[in-house]
């Protein structure tokens, strides 16, 4: 299959906008795991579409939030079996093509790194201090021992 030609047919955009027919959706989803360029094109389109939508968002009237909450309050919770299903599946990993030399990590690592860095400096200072104390004590001990040895 010529994947470039397939993408030029507008299938990625059709799929992301919900315009594709069921047959086109099935075909697209079958091809998706086999063609990384298809996945990349979809991610790229979704990303730009979301940015565009953020730029053009219109805040709904404030009372809508309360109405959604009220509606959800009246709806029975998901069965526990379904919740267990979410937990069992664990986090979902997405096959991503590495394009950047940078990595993104959770914000907690910043505080942890700072704490480890500060602690390491404290330990280093303490180590130097105790080493100097030890050297000083050793020197004093040898000074005390010298006259005693002379007397003997």
């Amino acid at each position: 299959m010529n994947i470039e030609l397939y993408m030029q047919s507008g299938i990625v955009e059709s799929y992301a906008l919900g315009l594709a027919t069921q047959q086109e959706v099935d075909e697209f989803e079958q091809l998706l795991p086999h063609f990384p360029e298809l996945k990349d094109a979809l991610l790229d389109f979704e990303y730009h579409l979301e940015l565009f939508s953020i730029d053009n968002e219109i805040p709904p009237p404030p009372e809508i939030r309360q109405q959604v909450e009220d509606r959800l309050r009246g709806v029975p919770a998901l069965p526990h079996s379904t919740r267990r299903e979410y937990r069992r599946h664990g986090p979902e990993y997405v096959q991503a093509k590495e394009t950047s030399n940078h990595i993104r990590v959770h914000k907690i690592w910043r505080s942890l790194f700072i704490a480890v860095f500060i602690l390491s400096k404290i330990f280093l200072i303490l180590a130097i201090y105790y080493f100097l104390q030890y050297r000083h004590a050793e020197k004093q001990a040898s000074q005390v021992q010298a006259p005693v040895e002379k007397k003997n």
Binding site: G18, E46, L78
Partner: protein, 172 residues
């Protein structure tokens, strides 16, 4: 785009129940979806009612979002469109003209909306806008549109393909 909600974030919120997940989705996407709905339903009160309906229904279908190949936002959009089209269809059956009559009147009226996605098609010829509007806003199939407008199916498909190309290009 730090505010994007990934499926992992949504899944972890869902451990706490549907309400926190709905809260998260609402805080991030309500404005975007409201703007999306206004393309189909320009009346703001009606759009607000649809937004409530969409959030309360889709919060209970989040497993589908996890199973989908789409991002959370695109999944929300696609599923919202189904709900909106269902609403418009039901409303049309109650008090509106038939789909063929609607299509014919739309064809005569020319471009109708300049909202959201149509901003990306501002430079497109009127016929391109018409095809996109019929397929996207009214949920018609290419075959149905070709049949009722007397156009060739290949011609309609080409116009749609060109519209999608313009959208991609204008998105950047």
């Amino acid at each position: 785009m730090d505010q994007t909600i990934t499926k992992d974030i949504l899944r972890s919120e869902l451990y706490g129940g549907e309400r926190p997940a709905a809260e998260l989705l609402y805080s991030r996407y309500s404005g975007m979806l409201y703007s999306y709905i206004l393309q189909f339903v320009p009346d703001r009160t009606e759009a607000g009612t649809l937004l409530v309906d969409i959030f309360s229904r889709l919060t209970l279908q989040l497993q589908e979002a996890f199973d989908s190949s789409l991002s959370v936002y695109c999944w929300l959009q696609v599923e919202s469109r189904k709900i909106i089209l269902e609403y418009i269809q039901n409303k049309g059956q109650a008090d509106g003209p038939s789909s063929a009559e609607l299509a014919a009147s739309n064809l005569r009226r020319g471009p109708k909306t300049a909202a959201l996605y149509f901003l990306l098609l501002e430079d497109a010829p009127p016929e391109h806008q018409w095809v996109f509007r019929e397929l996207f806003l009214y949920g018609r199939s290419k075959e149905d549109l070709a049949l009722h407008s007397g156009k060739d199916l290949a011609y309609v498909s080409r116009l749609l393909r060109e519209c999608l190309g313009m959208i991609r290009k204008n998105l950047g």
